[in-house]
């Protein structure tokens, strides 16, 4: 039960990596593994937040557009071509924006009682519009070094994105498993009515989960967008689908109440390595056109393996 979402993705991931290494040993080089983790870090940071939202029985699909808007705000505030404010201010504003949008989602869901899929579907569209308006048809070049350090710098020899990601994973694990709030999240997700009867503030618990998810999307923006020197208006498009997929492949039940951080980590690693594996296999010029098909098949395989496992457990 605790291992839900772990065996399936772990097996598929191990097979993929073995295959890639067998054909092209460069796959296992430290450089490539670092790059893989760098690429997975922002997805994983956002997935940690989404895991808590999903565990509480809700969903947030606005994160792609929120990532884009956060990128636009960070760039607009800090680039000398635009406002040229100090990077620290841009960072603070970005985090505040993420938190604010997350809380707004949470208020609409828990106080006004609009289903979260509808709130965040609408928000996906509104935030994308706001992003386009803010960018004004031009991209942002010349991000200041202070901001770029978030993406390209390192602390104690570890790249910032990886360090931030590790910290977020550890904190999420602590939150989920060692705090009263974490237990409440899962209790609310498995049965809101009995949670309410047990005196748990259902609304506030969910509100906090949404706020945290928004904040983590902002953090994901800060460690991914400054890795590049240019902010374009398409940042974050489709990111929500990737993160939701990672979370459910990682075994977090979409009905709420269950989910493990280990499963989510595996889900993210699996989904973000498919493309690199395909490139390393060097199967010919149009092999990448099958990427999406393979991704879909992997999702189904991981989910099916899991379902079969659950059933065996239930029978045993």
């Amino acid at each position: 039960m605790r291992l839900r979402g772990v065996p399936g993705p772990a097996l598929v991931l191990a097979l993929l990596c073995a295959l890639a290494t067998a054909i092209n040993p460069a796959f296992l080089s430290p450089r490539n593994l670092t790059d893989l983790m760098l690429a997975a870090a922002p997805t994983l940071i956002a997935a940690c937040g989404l895991m808590l939202v999903v565990a509480s029985g809700e969903i947030d699909i606005s994160i792609g557009s929120l990532l884009g808007l956060c990128a636009a705000v960070a760039g607009t505030l800090s680039s000398p071509d635009r406002l040229g404010l100090p990077p620290s201010l841009a960072v603070a504003a970005t985090l505040a924006l993420g938190l604010g949008v997350g809380l707004l989602n949470g208020v609409l869901v828990s106080l006004v009682r609009v289903p979260s899929i509808i709130v965040t579907l609408g928000m996906l569209s509104v935030l994308k519009g706001a992003n386009e308006l803010l960018m004004g048809g031009k991209w942002i070049t010349r991000l200041p070094d202070g901001l770029r350090a978030w993406g390209t710098g390192s602390v104690l020899g570890v790249p910032v994105p990886i360090a931030a990601c590790a910290a977020v994973v550890a904190l999420t694990w602590l939150l989920a498993n060692r705090t009263a709030w974490g237990r409440r999240v899962f209790a609310v997700g498995s049965n809101a009515d009995s949670a309410r009867l047990a005196g748990i503030p259902v609304g506030r618990t969910k509100l906090a989960a949404f706020g945290l998810a928004g904040l983590l999307v902002a953090l994901a923006t800060l460690v991914s967008v400054p890795r590049l020197s240019l902010v374009d208006s398409g940042v974050g498009v489709g990111f929500e689908l990737l993160v939701v997929t990672c979370v459910v492949v990682g075994g977090v039940s979409i009905r709420g109440g269950t989910g493990t951080i280990l499963g989510v980590v595996l889900g993210v690693l699996l989904l973000s390595s498919v493309r690199t594996v395909l490139i390393f296999l060097q199967l010919g010029e149009s092999s990448l056109y099958w990427e999406r098909a393979i991704q879909g098949a992997l999702i189904l395989a991981a989910v099916m393996g899991d379902a079969a496992g659950r059933r065996r457990e239930a029978r045993a």
């Binding site: 006004v112 509808i118 709130v119 609408g122 519009g129 009905r255 056109y289 999406r292 879909g296 989910v303």
Partner: protein, 312 residues
């Protein structure tokens, strides 16, 4: 509950009427028959997919793979045409592929008891990827005029109207309708009552796949192109129209008339914003705000008893 549905539909109808009056006051040409009938085909495929989607959402499920099934059907149609098959055979192959995709979704959902959101998220990638792979992402074009004419007119909208009428009758009067609502209100209770829940659910997904196949062929005819990017993102539009129409995303509640009104509001708002301001960015904001606003307003006005929102 019946009253509640009726009020949501009345509210939507009022919204639609108010919008059209406001549009007529600012720009009478927009509400003319010529313009409205010219713009109507643009919502055709979305409308067609909204019928099975409504039924599936009423059972508490969802089908996110519809856009990808459209693409796969369209691509198979194109590949068949390129290898010299007659148009009828291509269309039959495309519809069969759609049905098969839908049946596959249904099989996954019922056999493995995996949440439909997850299953169709997976098949959304898989079917789209299959379409990209088998076509090498290349388009097929240059279909005969007789085929293209099917897409220019009102085929999709007419089919939608017929399905809505038939579906409404089934939902309201037939035992199947009661069972569809029954699954949404409580699947275990439905199972306990003895009839085959899985078979009904699986058939709904198959129906959805079939309609996606039809939509794929009609889109191919309307735009003279068979290609793997057909229908990208249409699933979110369909879901938007369905929930705007008052169908509960948690199942158990909703009507096809509501969906038709939801489609109409979505279509008219988008078209009017485009007509008056010619600004695609503004449309993103307006459509998103409309969705949140309408459902919030409905939630505030018809405050449900605590707890009925969760679950599902």
């Amino acid at each position: 509950m019946r009253r509640l549905i009726a009020t949501h539909e009345a509210g939507l109808a009022a919204l639609l009427a108010a919008l059209l009056v406001a549009a007529w006051r600012t720009d009478p040409a927009f509400v003319s028959w010529r313009v409205q009938s010219g713009l109507l085909p643009q919502i055709g495929e979305t409308a067609l997919l909204a019928v099975p989607m409504t039924l599936i959402v009423i059972t508490g499920g969802i089908d996110l793979s519809v856009g990808s099934v459209m693409a796969l059907a369209s691509v198979l149609f194109g590949l068949g045409f390129r290898s010299g098959w007659p148009v009828e055979a291509c269309a039959a192959a495309a519809l069969a592929a759609g049905l098969l995709c839908g049946a596959l979704n249904g099989w996954f959902v019922t056999r493995f008891r995996v949440h439909p959101l997850i299953v169709t998220l997976g098949t959304m990638s898989a079917f789209r990827g299959l379409a990209e792979g088998v076509s090498a992402a290349r388009p097929v074009s240059g279909f005969p005029d007789t085929f293209l004419r099917i897409g220019q007119g009102w085929t999709a909208v007419g089919l939608f109207a017929a399905l809505t009428l038939a579906g409404t009758a089934v939902l309201a009067r037939h035992v199947l309708g009661r069972r569809i609502y029954g699954i949404g209100l409580g699947e275990s209770a439905a199972r306990a009552s003895g009839w085959n829940v899985d078979r009904l659910k699986a058939s709904l997904y198959a129906f959805s796949g079939l309609m996606a196949g039809v939509a794929g062929v009609l889109f191919t005819a309307r735009r003279n192109t068979a290609k793997a990017d057909v229908g990208a993102g249409i699933e979110l539009e369909v879901v938007t129209a369905v929930v705007l129409g008052g169908t509960s995303i948690f199942g158990g509640r909703g009507t096809l008339v509501g969906t038709a009104l939801g489609l109409a509001v979505l279509h008219e708002v988008r078209q009017f914003v485009g007509w008056r301001w010619s600004n695609d960015v503004l449309n993103l904001v307006v459509v998103g705000a409309l969705l949140i606003g309408a459902v919030t307003l409905n939630g505030v006005i018809s405050r449900r008893p605590a707890g009925s929102v969760e679950g599902g």
